[in-house]
Symmetry: none
Subunit: 207 residues, 4 copies
């Protein structure tokens, strides 16, 4: 019974934490790290400012937690996507499909994520940067392995170094998904979402 109580409290704590992170995410992705105050976050999450500081030791810690947890979810989903199907081509298709879903469902986090991994991220004093980039690199190597195995199994021609192919797929999918999600009026989602893959899959120049 003590345990039960403990666990109820645990769960309650977790729920509160999630609410704080959710409020912070919404504000950060809308206005950026430096244009959001801790008071604002506390208010949006409907907690006292002191309570916020009970959960996160300072603003940077809150931001770091937010980004790291979201990036983990993101990378886990993608990792799972390329692990499940057996065939390499299907792995890539599943990768694009999953990424598209994650982007669509979490466009605001994605923005934050790109601010960290692409642009010059000085929002946050060094550190987060490294943490996230490490995870990103890990995933890229996993993706490269898919290409490598595909080449070995003669599913793919070796038109480039596997790691380069991974980089290519990553950047192409980012670019197209952002294009379609950013301005759906000008650039509606294509009927066949394989567009991204086709660019890689087909050869461009007459042979």
């Amino acid at each position: 019974m003590k345990d039960k109580k403990e666990s109820r409290r645990e769960r309650e704590k977790f729920r509160q934490r999630q609410e704080m992170l959710a409020a912070a995410l919404e504000l950060f992705s809308e206005k950026g790290y430096h244009n959001v105050s801790m008071h604002e976050i506390a208010e949006k999450a409907e907690f006292a400012i002191g309570t916020l500081y009970k959960f996160f030791k300072n603003k940077e810690d809150l931001y770091k937690s937010l980004i790291t947890e979201q990036a983990d979810r993101f990378h886990q989903a993608l990792t799972k996507a390329i692990e499940e199907p057996d065939d390499e081509i299907e792995k890539l298709r599943n990768y694009v499909k999953t990424k598209r879903e994650v982007f669509a469902a979490n466009i605001s986090v994605i923005r934050l994520y790109f601010a960290e991994t692409r642009g010059a991220s000085f929002n946050i004093k060094a550190g987060l940067d490294k943490e996230i980039r490490k995870r990103y690199d890990q995933f890229m190597h996993t993706l490269a392995a898919v290409f490598e195995r595909g080449i070995k199994r003669k599913r793919f021609q070796k038109i480039a170094d596997p790691y380069h192919l991974a980089v290519a797929l990553d950047s192409l999918s980012n670019a197209f998904l952002l294009l379609w999600l950013d301005s759906p009026e000008d650039h509606p989602f294509p009927e066949n979402p394989d567009v991204i893959l086709n660019i890689l899959f087909k050869g461009l120049v007459y042979t």
Copy 2:
């Protein structure tokens, strides 16, 4: 004679403005918008803070001017690169070559530029964003036109919508150039810089 004086004054003003922007660029690209103070910029540029405010009505305006002018230089260089050669394939080659040079020479601005166009750019309250994106879109259409003409002239297969091809080339070149510039130890520049183009140019899957 009045004119001459005026124009000397004009030129003098322009020079001062450039000095301010140069100081600001160095600081912003090193530390980020929010970690640089107007005093710091004034000091580095060797002007009084009041003088800085004579040239730019506020910090945001200074930043906007900086980014916009740099983006213009960038786009002009790229536009020229795809205008000069006659053949479409050479245009694309020249595009990648020029981009590579501009990136290498201005990596710090490029970072700032990506923070604006890619990641969630809230450094700056809405507005800058639009201004730059418009210029970016314009350039993308120019690039798309190259693909379109190439397809018409049977230099390229129509493996995708020309605009999509432009997006693809843009994102691939960004990704690879950043990869190589970011960590030259892990990812050295390839002997053959056509790597980027080859991915597009060759076909991936066996046919």
Copy 3:
């Protein structure tokens, strides 16, 4: 039996209170009133913060209780010291000896005590001040009475008003004891601890 239980509970309460005060004393004397938090005290005393507030209505009250009780012990020891011997000269000797022992054994409290009685004591909003000063005054009169009786009994010359002599002995002994305790390397304890008294005695005592 009720009584016994009550008294056991009483004793238990008293013990807890003492533990709290002991923890507080250690922290206050090490870091000063304003650099110690109630949480810190609670943690050191191994009680919940709420329990601390059951015993002391606020931080000031806790501090007051602490200082007052320590000052009482201090004054009681000194009072006893000048009551026990019969001869006035021996009383004074015993006073210095006892003070020396108390200082040596409680240097940290002594610091706190002086912060209250000497320096501008604003650690604590008015009040404590008065309480302690009253006790101090009482003791000074007791000490003055020793000199008075000594003069009457022709043990001492009347070189000054008895109260002034008390003030003199008090300040001299404080100064020398602090000198010796503060930096024992530079100012070691003299072989003959009568040094303090000798300064007064040379003029005071009939020879």
Copy 4:
């Protein structure tokens, strides 16, 4: 003419600084370091909070400057007092007289000064402490030298080590002056202010 302007500005700056320090002194001596906020000081001095921070880099710096400057004035006055007269006995008399004047005129600073040199001073994170104690020690040695010379010149009996005599005079004069200044109703200033010296002199001076 440039110089004149400069110097006017200099003087203006100095005057402002003095006003800030005066406001701070009044507040600190009334309420103590931790019970005075920078806003309060700014308001009392009739400056904006930002201006206060232009003159002192933080609260501690302001406090340190205040105490150090006042302590210097204090020690300089006392040093001068024991340098001027030729005869050792007159030096001591002048010392007590000067101290009495300084105490009377600056009772609030004196409080602050004692809080630093006597009581456990944690108001301020280490440092100030040392700085002031050093000055204090220097002065004590100067005072000890007076006793030493007096003994050599047979003006004084050698009833104790010269440094001890200095400590004795210092503590006695502090104690009596504070006694008289603190509660003039209970302990009025004696007609003959030599009371303090007499206590020492009875044993000290050859008769």
